[in-house]
Symmetry: C2
Subunit: 82 residues, 2 copies
């Protein structure tokens, strides 16, 4: 089972990397960009029976820093369009 975990900074947490990219886009002449936030994507191939609780535990223990980050779990190719 393929799982995609998206880790993003919580709203309100300063994102200097996003700001730098925003600034660079403007420097390259791309107008109309209002906001840029950068996060991580973790794609994993896990055993088919892996429970949501296990995936949550992986995120909370290792993949995300729960103090400043949120995470979302997407099951790719199984319930992506559910």
């Amino acid at each position: 089972m393929k799982v995609r975990i998206l880790v993003r900074l919580k709203p309100g947490v300063l994102d200097p990397q996003g700001r730098a990219v925003h600034h660079s886009l403007e420097g390259l002449g791309f107008d109309g960009v209002e906001d840029v936030r950068i996060g991580r994507m973790i794609e994993m191939e896990v055993a088919d029976g892996t429970s949501d609780e296990t995936l949550d535990a992986m995120c909370q223990k290792l993949l995300a820093n729960m103090v400043i980050e949120d995470y979302a779990i997407e099951k790719v190719g199984q319930a992506e369009h559910a």
Copy 2:
């Protein structure tokens, strides 16, 4: 318009960060993980009329390193389930 860009290493490119995470997950007792790949997620708020060509240009000029990375553009909240 909200746009999400997913940047991932091309297949075959070594992903040491993914390997380290995989190793750590096993160390924490999570079994059944077969593969871990780590990429970037860039979420942008862009002007409504922004064309796909412009988004492609942003990716190719700045957001992705086309030598070792692929990118995918998703329009969030507009055609996410299309």
